[in-house]
Every structure is written in C-alpha cells, then in structure tokens.
C-alpha cells in the first residue's frame, strides 16, 4: 500500500517529504532527471524517472498496489489523465489532482464518479485567495486556520512591543482579560514553537496562536486587547488569476480595491470583470505609481505577481512608504523563513497551501483533519472523544495528557467550548488537539488505541 506522487516540483517534493516522515511508502515520478536526483539524495522515497502519463511507467512504479495517486505536475492535463489512468486501469481507491485552470473548475461534474472520477481537486490559486481573505478578516493576524467546518478558528497573532501582556505569566491572563474566550495553544519564539503552560511568561515579538469560536472571533480578539479598525482600502499588485479573484471577492465585501498590472490587455480584462476596483497600468518598481496612488493611506498591500523577488522588493517599498500591513506571495518555499524576518507581515505560498490542503484531505479518516502550524514543527488534530478514552468524564486538569500537547477547543453539537481546567469532555465531543510534531506520535497512539473500539 503505497502512495504515488506524480510531479516532483515544490508541491510533490514537500508532500513526499511529509508523507515519508509519517512512515508512509512513497513513490515519486517526474520527467526531470535533476528533480529525481534531488529527491533521491534527500528523501527516503523511491524516485522513478519518466512521464506520469505513461501507463507502463505507472505500472513499474507499482500503481496496481497503490492506495493513492496524487498528481501535482505543472500540467493540468497530465494530472487529470494520470488520475484517469490510475482509476480505469488499476482501480486505485483515492485520486487527487492539482488543477489550476479555472476553466476546468467551472465544470465541476467533470471530476465526478461518472467522468474523470477524481476524489479531490486542488487549486492552489484558489486556496491562496481563500487564505488571504481569511487573513484580512482578522486584522493583524499572520495565520488564520479554521477547524470543524469553520466553527473554530485559530489565529496567529504577533505580540506587539508595547503590549501589556509582556512579562506576564499566562496564568494571569484570565485576570487581565476576564471575558476573553480565547486560549493560547502555542507560542512561537524565534524559530522555536512550544505549547505554553500556566507559568510561562510572554515576551515581546512572540507569535501567539489563539483558538476561539469563529463567529465570536472579532469580539474575542477585541476582548483580548487586539483592537484594530477593520480593513477598508486594499492595494493589489499583480492582476493574474489570484489578483483578479482576490479583487472580485474584496469588492463584494465593500472594500475599496486598487489593482496594479503591467500588461495593458490584461488590465482591460480585469476592468471588464471587476465592478468598482480601480485598475492601474504600470510598473510598481518605479515608485511614482505607488506615490501617485497614496500607498501610505492604504490599509493593506498585497503582492501577488508571478515573480517572487518582485513581490518581496515592492512589498518592502510599500512598507517604507508607510503602509501598515503587507502580504506577499512567495512561490519558492526556501525563501519563506527569510522573508518574515526582513519585515514582511504575512507570507503566503500557494504551494504550501496546496500541500497542507492535500494533507488535510488525506488524513480525513479516523483523525478528522490536520493542519500544519508554521515551520512544520507543530500540528493541529481534530478527533472524536470516545467513551473509552481517558479524556472523557473528568475535568481537564485531572487528565494525564502528553506533554507538549493541549486541547484547544471542543465542539459539542454546534456549540463551541474553549476549555479551561474545569471543563469536562463528554463522549462524542469533537476535540481539537494541538501538539508539537515530536509529541504527535504519543497523542496519536493514545487516540488510535481507543479508536479501534470505534
């Protein structure tokens, strides 16, 4: 039972890396010898050189025994055909394809059982737009992830320098903000992520991961002292697929949008498709266009061109001109740790978005969904509390839970509970657990053993 990944680009490579570290058997196929060599030298997976559309090669890679095919090459067509072949020829149970072209996405029945029979279609551009919209809902956040069909929200919030929280132990938080129904599930300090305890003291520049009920997110954050005006004006750099979709969604929310694009005919196209957004033609690397349009007066600047370097440089330029918040699209994952440290507030990688979305889909089984906290050393789980589980039936402070893991939220029916020490978990509750990667095994083990009774 192995997983076959077609395409060893950034998405394929990172998926293979994650899955092989989770003790899955992975075979990866690519046409590029260089990429195959990179995989061979750095990952413990089998790398096969050749085209993912070739039936004989898929056979050779063991497709008849595979439990899953994930097609993430640059070509939508190759991805779809590979999945089709896998399904028709060898009855691979789960097929996942990356399809970027929105033309295909409009025709949703294309992917259903009768036609292409692809179980999960991922569009990285679409994921990026969704992620950016979510981030804009929470001013100041650098990370927003939703759980339990959007009932629970996790927000990554940097602690600003002057915050009254600095130097206070976590146990005091309740006294400071008695009505705030948020829980700190993880703290990133420098490169390190840890699960906090009552006696841990907050420091400046900590990145806090807070869990709250999504509906009450704004109030909860305001109660927590994060009072910022909502976003009203946004400038988007780059009118590609992402830029256009983003502009359309934002103007629907009544946000004022300016969009900068170099290509004249593309500008016309955008102008045609948007109702209110101001489309500007020009090269933003000449400062004048930014000055003319008062970039400093904007609430958020979003750089989503195809060119990573351009995105970063112009974002920094905009920041220099006084904009409070910049969001930057980065394709090369290797850059992302660097970029945050030079002053860009939010970094979004379409590939990372695709990877985490696919991982979520794959693990939607007994463990309901998993999403990755940044830097890949902590994760969030969602699982169902069983009657036989040790978690159930007593106050949380009396439960012996693995170190480096924490229960962040409960969903009982449609009610969201942010737990404290006195909360009692009932059978059937959906439990969100946050854990360091090193502790996942223990948590999983505890849950898996119980799950066998299910």
């Amino acid at each position: 039972m192995s997983i076959i990944i077609i395409g060893a680009g950034e998405v394929g490579f990172h998926l293979a890396d994650r899955l092989s570290k989770e003790k899955k058997d992975v075979v990866i196929i690519d046409r590029d010898v260089e990429k195959i060599r990179r995989v061979q030298n750095t990952l413990d997976v089998q790398a096969v050189h050749g085209s993912g559309g070739s039936i004989s090669l898929l056979r050779q890679a063991g497709i008849s025994e595979a439990s899953m095919v994930i097609a993430v090459t640059n070509s939508d067509e190759v991805n779809m055909i590979s999945c089709l072949v896998a399904g028709v020829q060898d009855r691979v149970p789960i097929k996942i394809a990356r399809v970027r072209d929105p033309e295909y996405s409009y025709l949703l029945p294309l992917f259903d059982k009768e036609h292409l029979d692809i179980d999960f279609v991922i569009n990285p551009d679409h994921e990026v737009v969704e992620m950016m919209l979510k981030l804009m809902e929470v001013p100041g956040a650098v990370e927003v992830v939703d759980f339990a069909e959007g009932l629970v929200r996790m927000v990554g919030l940097p602690l600003p320098l002057g915050s009254p929280l600095i130097g206070k132990p976590l146990a005091k938080l309740r006294e400071l903000y008695p009505q705030a129904s948020v829980l700190i599930v993880a703290i990133q300090r420098g490169d390190k992520v840890f699960i906090p305890k009552g006696q841990d003291v907050l420091a400046a520049n900590d990145l806090l991961f807070l869990v709250m009920e999504r509906k009450k997110a704004r109030e909860a954050l305001e109660d927590f002292g994060n009072k910022r005006p909502p976003i009203k004006r946004v400038m988007i750099l780059g009118g590609g697929l992402i830029g256009l979709e983003l502009a359309k969604s934002l103007e629907e929310q009544g946000i004022q949008v300016k969009i900068i694009e170099q290509n004249e005919s593309r500008c016309l196209e955008i102008a045609e498709k948007c109702r209110k957004a101001v489309v500007l033609r020009g090269d933003a690397s000449y400062q004048d266009i930014l000055l003319e349009e008062n970039v400093g007066e904007m609430d958020t600047f979003i750089a989503v061109t195809e060119d990573d370097e351009n995105n970063v440089m112009i974002s920094l330029l905009a920041k220099k001109m006084g904009i409070r918040r910049v969001m930057t699209l980065i394709n090369k994952m290797a850059y992302s740790p660097l970029v945050r440290s030079i002053g860009i507030d939010v970094v979004i990688s379409p590939r990372l978005a695709a990877v985490s979305k696919i991982l979520q889909f794959i693990r939607r089984g007994k463990i309901l969904s998993v999403s990755s906290l940044p830097e890949e050393n902590a994760e969030a789980f969602e699982a169902i509390a069983l009657e036989t589980s040790d978690l159930v039936g007593r106050p949380l402070r009396k439960v012996e839970f693995p170190k480096d893991a924490i229960v962040g939220a409960l969903v009982r029916g449609s009610e969201v509970i942010i737990p404290d020490g006195s909360t009692v978990i009932q059978p059937g509750d959906r439990v969100m657990i946050f854990a360091l990667t090193t502790a996942i095994h223990k948590v999983e083990k505890a849950l898996m053993v119980k799950l066998e009774y299910w």
Partner: protein, 481 residues
C-alpha cells in the same frame, strides 16, 4: 562532516561485528575446542570499543550528508578488517598482525586469497569465522545494518550507494530499509537453498555451511586445502557452479524473478551478457582442454564450467590446479578476472554492465566515423545511459586499470615475479582469490613480504568498494568544511 555521527555509527558496526563473533564461539563449544578464550577476548575488545564509541559520540539528528555516507562506508570496512582480524590473533591461528588483517580483509571483501598453508590443521571455529566474514561482507555489512536499523532513513541511501556495487543504485521498494531487507532476504533464501543442496550431495553440515557462506558471497574460502576438488563429486561441483552463477547475478533481478516476473531475466541486457560470457568462455576452455590435456570432453566441460563461473563471479574456488592448463585457458581466466559479476551482485571486478557499456560505446564511436552527424546515444535495455553514468563508468574503469598496473609494478619492485605480481593484483583487486604463478590455486599468499600483503589488502578494499568510495577519503577537500 559530523565526526560524532561518524564514530557513533562505526561503534554500532562494531557491535554487529561482535555479535557475529558469537557464532564461531558456538562452533568452538560444539566441537569442544580450546579457543573460547580467544573468541571471548575478541568479542570483548570489539564490543567494548563499539559501546565506548557509541556512548562518547552522539549521532546528530539530521540526515547523513553524502560525504558522511562515503566516510562511514570506507572507514567501516577498514575498521571491520582490523577488528575482524582479532579472532585470528587471539586464538593464535595467525601470529602476525599483517597476516591476520590480510585474512580478515580477504574475508570481508569476499576475495578468498589466503595466508593459511595447512587449512585443515586450523580449528573449526576459526575456519567458521573465516567463512562467516565472507558471508557478511558479500551482501554488505552496512546494508545489513540498514536492514535492521530503520532510523538511518535518507542517510541510508548514501550508504547504500557507496556500498552496493554497480554504476547506479536502484531502490526496489520506496524505503531504503525495505530495499536492504529484501536484498538480505533473497541472500538468506539462496543460502538456505544451497546448504540443503550441499547436504543432499553428501557434505557434512559444517562444510556445507562454510561453502555456502563463501559461494553466496562469491568469496572462495574453503575449509579444505584442495577446495572443492576435495569432494570429487560432480553433483556438488555442478550445484556449487549453479549457486555461484546466481550469486554473480543482480540480486534485484532475483527478487523480481522470485516475485513471479520470469521474463525479467532474459529482458535484462546485463544478465544476457553475463550468461553469454560464461557460455563462450566455457566452450573455448573445454575445447582447449579437450584438445590438450583431457581425453574426455565431458570431463573437460565439467572442469571448464566450474572454473569459468568461479573466476568470472570472482569466487575463486578450484576443482583443478588451472596453472597446469594450457596458456590459452590461463589467459582467458585472467581476462575473466577483470570482467567480474553483474552490478548489484556479490561479485567483484569491473562488472559486466560496465564492460558491456564500454564495448558498446567503443563501437558507437566507430559508427560515428561513418555517420559524422548521427546522434548515437549508448542504450542499455532500450534506455539511454545518461552522460553522467557514462563518465562515471569511464572514470572507474580507467582508475581500475591504473591501480592494477601501479600495484603490479609495486609488487614487481618488492621482488615477486612478473606472472605472480600481475595475477595477484588482478585477483585481489577483482576480489577473486587465487592468482597464477606462486599464488595459484594450489599455493597461498603466505610467502609474500609484509609490504606486498598490505598493498594487496588495499587492492581488495578498493575492489570491493569500487575504488571511489575509498579513494575519496584521500582527497584533502573531502575532509574540509
């Protein structure tokens, strides 16, 4: 280069080695021999140094770099040679360090050149250890540790590439530990089959085990002075021939064959080439023997096929003193020493696939003279051989011949005669075992000078690790940060 990772893993190898020394101790106990103290001392020295290294040095959590992979494999083999020599020293079978190391190196590298003059006079336990080293070295000690140590993960690929012979190393299964386990399983399966066959042919269990160890590893140590000739049994000779032939072919191929893919054998270009070399050489030598010293053709055939397979797979068993054969046959056998078995086998020397590709490219150049504009890639089994692989093959083959000529020169300088020098180096560099001249199948290597023995030991290790893995340690840049 993380030295603490390096020493930690070397320490672990020592533990494996110490564990395997327990088996001859068992033999010692079964036969009631008085050498338990020697083995216990050797085990203690090996195990304690291993534990010491593992406790002092910690493995870093990141994966092995490719340089560390090379260093571990090369130093691992060198350290195995030294620690593997301890049982010979401590039981008093061999008095000098040089001789003990030579025997150990010859064992682990599956060469089969020996210092022992009167083999049967040595205790069973020592003979057992001697053949066991070949079996361990045949499929590779590091491959064994990969099979039982899943934690090496990605870094394992570096070790695998550095230890498994052949121009490219393919994984059979997604994980390196699974691949290593499969190879060892096939190896153990074949070994079990051979033990049973040999028992059926009338060998006693001890001899059957020892001969199996050295056959499957293409080693060539025999617990008998006369090697396989001792038994004078056509059945045993043919079955050993068969198993040597298997051991000289690619184990990945065996695995696919055992999985039910029968066609894989004759679809594999290297296997076909290997088989044709065996058949052609056997034909020529049988005819040559038949026309000169043997009256009966079948008798000649029996001697010829055994010797051809034994030399080509770099095993080195003998059923006849081939030094008494006509020069044509002797020369042909010397040539076979350079060809060797298949990639991914336990055989040594340059390997069939490299010879085949080199020949093919040679002829390709000829065709280029006729069609100057033709695009003529070198193909193997319908697939183009990448220029990287090709240049690797050229480099290795040239270095192989270069080291061969330099080492022969050194031996001549140390006073050996021409035939002895050339054949001793060819036989050790190719991991064959017996050479010609004064180191022929009926003689041994004991009379060579100390310096000559160390040169030949280096040749054995160079041959087993396919030159680059060992030679790269001598490049100063390798050790720089």
């Amino acid at each position: 280069m993380s030295f603490s990772t390096l020493f930690n893993l070397l320490g672990f190898l020592n533990l494996i080695l110490a564990g395997s020394m327990g088996l001859p101790l068992l033999v010692n106990w079964i036969y009631g021999e008085p050498h338990a103290r020697g083995f216990l001392l050797a085990i203690a020295a090996t195990a304690f140094s291993g534990l010491f290294m593992m406790l002092i040095f910690r493995r870093s959590r990141r994966d092995l770099t490719h340089r560390e992979g090379f260093a571990i494999v090369a130093l691992g083999w060198i350290s195995a040679t030294f620690f593997g020599a301890l049982p010979y020293l401590f039981t008093g079978s061999l008095a000098s360090l040089t001789d003990a190391c030579f025997e150990a190196a010859s064992g682990f590298t599956t060469t089969g050149s020996t210092i022992f003059t009167e083999i049967q006079k040595h205790p069973y336990s020592v003979l057992f250890w001697r053949n066991l080293t070949q079996w361990l070295g045949g499929m590779g000690i590091l491959l064994l540790s990969l099979a039982i140590l899943p934690f090496l993960g990605v870094g394992g690929m570096q070790l695998y590439k550095a230890e498994v012979p052949g121009p490219t190393a393919d994984k059979l299964r997604p994980r390196i530990s699974q691949t290593a386990r499969i190879l060892w399983e096939v190896y153990i399966l074949f070994s079990a089959a051979e033990v049973l066959t040999l028992l059926l042919g009338g060998m006693n269990l001890f001899d059957a085990l020892c001969h199996t160890f050295s056959t499957m590893a293409t080693g060539g140590f025999s617990p008998k002075n006369e090697s396989i000739e001792f038994y004078r049994s056509p059945f045993l000779e043919y079955s050993i021939t068969f198993f040597m032939f298997l051991a000289g072919a690619n184990f990945a191929l065996h695995y696919r064959f055992l999985k039910g893919n029968v066609k894989v054998l004759w679809r594999d270009t290297e296997f076909c080439f290997y088989t044709s070399v065996v058949l052609l050489a056997t034909l020529f030598i049988s005819l040559n023997l038949w026309l000169s010293i043997q009256k009966e053709f079948f008798q000649a055939f029996r001697l010829a096929i055994f010797q051809v397979v034994s030399i080509l797979t770099t095993t080195g068993f003998a059923t006849a003193d081939f030094e008494q054969w006509p020069p044509f046959s002797q020369y042909l056998l010397l040539t076979l020493m350079f060809i060797g078995g298949c990639a991914g086998s336990t055989g040594g020397a340059i390997k069939c696939v490299r010879i085949y590709i080199l020949l093919k490219q040679g002829f390709q150049e000829l065709r280029k003279l006729i069609h100057p504009r033709a695009v003529l890639p070198v193909k193997l089994g319908g697939k183009v051989v990448s220029p990287d692989t090709l240049s690797g093959i050229w480099g290795l083959s040239f270095l192989y011949l270069f080291i061969f000529s330099m080492a022969s020169l050194a031996l001549c300088m140390l006073g050996s005669d021409f035939l002895t020098s050339v054949s001793a180096v060819a036989a050790t560099l190719g991991n064959v075992g017996p050479g010609l001249g004064t180191v022929g199948p009926a003689e041994n290597f004991a009379h060579l000078s100390v310096a000559a023995k160390w040169i030949l030991m280096a040749c054995m290790l160079l041959g087993r690790l396919e030159i680059y893995t060992l030679l790269v340690l001598l490049i100063p840049d390798f050790w720089k940060k």
